[in-house]
Symmetry: C2
Subunit: 308 residues, 2 copies
């Protein structure tokens, strides 16, 4: 007996995490995105019925979830049609994997709906077809953790590698109400970097990975250096230096730009520190007259999942 409808929830994700530009991402415990998928008889057709929480195109070929679902549906031989309802809690352009959640959620839902039995890693290709629509590239550092959960390293070729994450890390995400498109955030990156920075960035990512495997959150935090992209992107984030100073002064042990911004993330070691950092950042943003969303969250082992 086949399901005719399924609801899935897919987490927001942090990518880059300072030390692993284009190669490192993790799933968050929240916020997330809900997607309801129904079978229809319109074989091969994907129809987006509604999108709540964001002003995004309903046209399938212009919608990340639509493109991802269409790609996988075709690969499965177009056994049916699909209808999608999308409930976005992750704001598009926030830098915490809004499009990745749509892409991952769509392929995860379809795989479950049709009981197709593909692994998250096998689903990745089709999710990336959707993600590419939003970001202009096929980077998996948001999509892979959105699907698989946890902390994921994406090599330049080959499958993503799940690595242990520091379980004592809390994360505060500050999303200021300004838009930075991924493509625009790429334009500020230099074509070349110094040999020394390249060498040192690799060493930091190696040490970060070692810290994660050793369960040494302090070593992992020490290694959260961003020598390549961060210095060029900080100027795109309003008040970045002030935000950084406030977060670090009130209990954050590390942090930086989330994905391509404008969100920033701040790591703390306790719920209390997280609450304090969130409180201070909120007060600062209010004083500056800037609207923002703040998420107090954690790294989560869980990616896309079926919900009731």
């Amino acid at each position: 007996m086949h399901r005719t409808e399924i609801s899935v929830w897919t987490p927001a994700t942090l990518a880059n995490i300072n030390v692993g530009f284009d190669g490192l991402g993790c799933a968050l415990s929240g916020p997330g995105e809900r997607l309801v998928m129904r079978r229809t008889d319109a074989v091969g057709c994907v129809n987006i019925r509604l999108i709540e929480g964001a002003d995004l195109p309903l046209e399938t070929s212009l919608n990340v979830a639509g493109v991802a679902a269409q790609s996988l549906l075709k690969a499965l031989g177009n056994p049916c049609g699909l209808e999608l309802d999308i409930f976005k809690e992750i704001k598009p352009g926030s830098g915490i994997g809004s499009s990745a959640a749509s892409a991952a959620g769509a392929v995860f839902a379809l795989n479950a709906l049709l009981n197709a039995g593909l692994s998250p890693q096998a689903l990745l290709t089709h999710a990336l077809d959707g993600e590419a629509l939003a970001s202009g590239s096929r980077h998996a550092d948001n999509v892979a953790p959105a699907l698989m959960g946890g902390l994921v390293l994406c090599p330049p070729r080959g499958l993503p590698v799940s690595i242990p994450f520091p379980v004592d890390w809390h994360v505060v995400v500050l999303h200021p109400d300004v838009a930075i498109r991924t493509e625009d955030a790429r334009k500020v990156l230099p074509e070349n970097v110094s040999f020394k920075d390249a060498v040192d960035q690799a060493r930091w990512l190696g040490v970060f990975t070692a810290g994660c495997y050793q369960g040494d959150g302090a070593l992992a935090a020490l290694a959260l250096e961003d020598l390549l992209a961060g210095p060029h992107r900080a100027g795109l984030i309003p008040h970045f230096e002030s935000i950084r100073n406030i977060a670090m002064r009130h209990g954050a042990i590390a942090g930086g730009i989330s994905g391509s911004g404008p969100s920033t993330f701040w790591v703390t070691l306790t719920t209390d520190d997280s609450a304090q950092v969130a409180h201070e950042l909120k007060a600062f943003m209010r004083n500056e007259g800037m609207a923002c969303d703040i998420h107090q969250t954690r790294i989560s082992a869980r990616g896309s999942r079926i919900i009731e």
Copy 2:
């Protein structure tokens, strides 16, 4: 009761290992260097009595082992004088940590001779005083594994981190009889590299580290990419491409330049493959009329040690 004489043996080391320029090194099971250290009454004086196996300066201030020993002796308050006999099996300038073995051996021997109780990591600073004499810089990627054994990641700041190494790797080292000074090998490196290569090199080092922790030698081997230094240095190694082709055709799964060359290293998974690669490389070098040394060795968990 104090010892008056001690003999130590310190292994050769592979640094860079393609994927971790200036930040990654491992101890080999051989070759190595023996150092005999004796107490003397000439307080604060380090005297090198003999060096066998290499034409190196006996003058303390010009000798890596001398400078390292002097540095640590001074830090310990110059409680005595020292006399050193050095038996080099690792050829200077070979690219497998000849100077690092001298520097590491000297501080390890002195620590043991005086029962000073310093950890290998605490000894590192003084060993680097010696290493800097030879290489012009204080990189620990040979010295740290020479002291500590195993596979070691050196962050841009902070202490070296030991990580698990692929236990099934065998290593063939081919040392052609040409000299490349570390300083000269640095001169061919570019000042800048592409942003993409920098990002990808970091991802490879992260994935290599993950592969090591997961005991996944195939993943670690896949990640042995050298995007930063290798392409610029290959031209310094006579017949590098031919050597590479021969090694890979006869059982090597990965390999590249050892340290700053001229040695190259080739990873295999069995003793037989190692023997085959060594045999073929020897035949090739003979045909080319080039003298060489070939070592069939392994990564070793052990660094400097006391011998009878």
